[in-house]
């Protein structure tokens, strides 16, 4: 459809609507005193003195606080992790050698799935209740805000998983060295899961059946983390050097921390377009 180019100037209708009956807000009513001038609107140069990098901590603190307010979701993911891992000894039976052999893979797959379970809450509720719009308009850069959200997500999912994993490893008869490497590999790997998951969660915002789509989108990207994470524990179990696996996880962590906040911020902006 082709339309003529029309230029509209808002017409002054109902100009000077002086309403004597309109209620006025008086400071005697307990209205907070408002300053006369807007702080930074008039100046052509935006204040640079404010520390906008606080945005990361503001957003981490906010999301962690919210997660603790609705503890249920945090605990659910943790209980899911414990239950999935515990199913294997029950199903396979007390074959110590076999259990010890599959332990790293089982713990890592369960960790991966329970992180996947928590991904929808990363952005979906903020998207639905309009908080995400306000975050886009916050003076803090969106990149730092989403980075803070990822950090909070890891603090409330990945970190508890890594801390509880040694207890589950005992069920499989893992030794001290193996347990230590398992925890280290989870500490290095679960932040990557949170970061990659955030990309998927942001891309599928507002999409119907988004949580399944996130799984399909993100699970292939989780495969390297799974291989290196479980591989590190297997390596220490077979007496090989596990340093390479952990180094690769660390490299992934650094790369993810640098790249994913930008990707997530871009995806969030697209979702709200």
């Amino acid at each position: 459809m082709i339309a003529p180019n029309s230029l509209f100037e808002a017409t002054p209708a109902a100009a000077q609507t002086d309403a004597p009956g309109a209620p006025r807000l008086e400071s005697s009513k307990g209205m907070p005193e408002q300053t006369g001038a807007f702080s930074d609107a008039s100046s052509d140069v935006v204040e640079q003195s404010r520390s906008l990098e606080r945005g990361f901590f503001v957003s981490t603190k906010r999301d962690t606080f919210l997660a603790f307010r609705s503890k249920g979701e945090v605990i659910q993911a943790l209980v899911f992790f414990v239950m999935v891992v515990s199913l294997f000894p029950l199903a396979i039976g007390a074959e110590t050698v076999l259990l010890k052999r599959i332990a790293p893979g089982v713990v890592w797959v369960a960790a991966l799935l329970s992180v996947l379970l928590t991904l929808p809450r990363l952005f979906a509720s903020d998207y639905l209740d309009g908080t995400l719009e306000q975050m886009l308009l916050s003076p803090f850069p969106l990149t730092l805000i989403v980075a803070g959200k990822m950090a909070a997500h890891w603090l409330t999912t990945g970190l508890p998983l890594a801390l509880i994993a040694p207890l589950l490893g005992l069920q499989f008869g893992l030794g001290g060295d193996e347990l230590a490497v398992l925890v280290i590999s989870l500490l290095l790997g679960t932040p990557i899961l949170s970061m990659l998951g955030a990309v998927g969660a942001a891309l599928t915002l507002g999409v119907r059946g988004g949580s399944v789509l996130v799984a399909l989108l993100i699970l292939p990207l989780y495969i390297p983390v799974l291989i290196f994470g479980a591989g590190a524990v297997e390596a220490v179990a077979s007496g090989i050097d596990y340093g390479a696996n952990l180094s690769l996880l660390g490299a992934g962590l650094l790369f993810g921390a640098l790249a994913t906040p930008f990707a997530v911020a871009a995806a969030v902006k697209i979702s709200l377009d």
Partner: protein, 238 residues
């Protein structure tokens, strides 16, 4: 201070103004064009709002009021057109725009798990309001003045829609941004709430603030109030 600021007073140059008086900002949009599907929601639309002025966006459902506000806020990148603040181009969601704009959409940005007070506090932290302006006393008195003093510590899930909307009004009282974009702000508000809202807008206009409101209601605002009817733009574009 009552009534509208006379037109002459509002045209004084910024550098000639005493420090306490209001800021003279001009928000301008030029040639905004946005298509939805095969239809132009608006095409070549320009508007200008000066300090102390309110612009009411009118139009039937689906005429593009919300879309226009989202373009002005920077969420939606238009198919054509530019935004200016004091004749300087505004990038969508750029740092200048984010310091200027306050947008309240259909959603209240209220977390059900937090209390009214916590919700307000979190919103102001995200707005980077100076700590001195968001002391517990300031928050409480803002909530008092929007009539939520007794509900301050209730989880927001126990509040009605109108009460959640009033938390948003309390935020308007404490955030120091000149350009307000409000989408159906009176939704779910009762008569008293609408009066309260009108008062807040009027005092913002008196300080030289700019307000764009998409609303069906006629709001008795002081100062220069102009209307933009989006139905007409659709007709002309068809």
């Amino acid at each position: 201070m009552t009534g509208a600021v006379p037109e002459t007073e509002r045209k004084i140059k910024p550098n000639a103004m005493p420090k306490s008086s209001a800021v003279q900002g001009t928000f301008r949009a030029e040639g905004l064009t946005l298509a939805r599907g095969a239809r132009w929601l608006f095409r070549g639309l320009s508007l200008r709002v000066c300090g102390g002025e309110a612009l009411l966006l009118r139009g039937a459902n689906g005429s593009g009021k919300t879309s226009l506000l989202r373009v002005l806020a920077g969420f939606t990148v238009p198919d054509g057109g530019k935004l200016f603040w004091n004749d300087r181009p505004l990038a969508p969601l750029g740092s200048v725009g984010r310091d200027l704009l306050l947008y309240i959409g259909h959603a209240n940005a209220i977390k059900d798990d937090l209390t009214a007070l916590e919700n307000l506090a979190e919103a102001l932290v995200m707005d980077d309001v100076a700590a001195a302006n968001r002391t517990p006393e300031a928050l409480c008195s803002a909530l008092d003045s929007v009539g939520l003093s007794a509900r301050r510590d209730l989880p927001a899930r126990k509040l009605s829609q109108g009460q959640k909307r009033r938390i948003g009004l309390a935020r308007l009282l404490l955030v120091d941004k000149p350009l307000w974009l409000l989408d159906e702000p009176t939704n779910a508000l009762d008569t008293d709430g609408v009066n309260l809202f009108t008062g807040i807008i009027n005092s913002h206009l008196e300080r030289g603030g700019l307000v764009l409101i998409a609303s069906h209601l006629s709001i008795p605002l002081a100062g220069t109030v102009r209307e933009l009817n989006l139905d007409e733009t659709v007709e002309l574009a068809a």
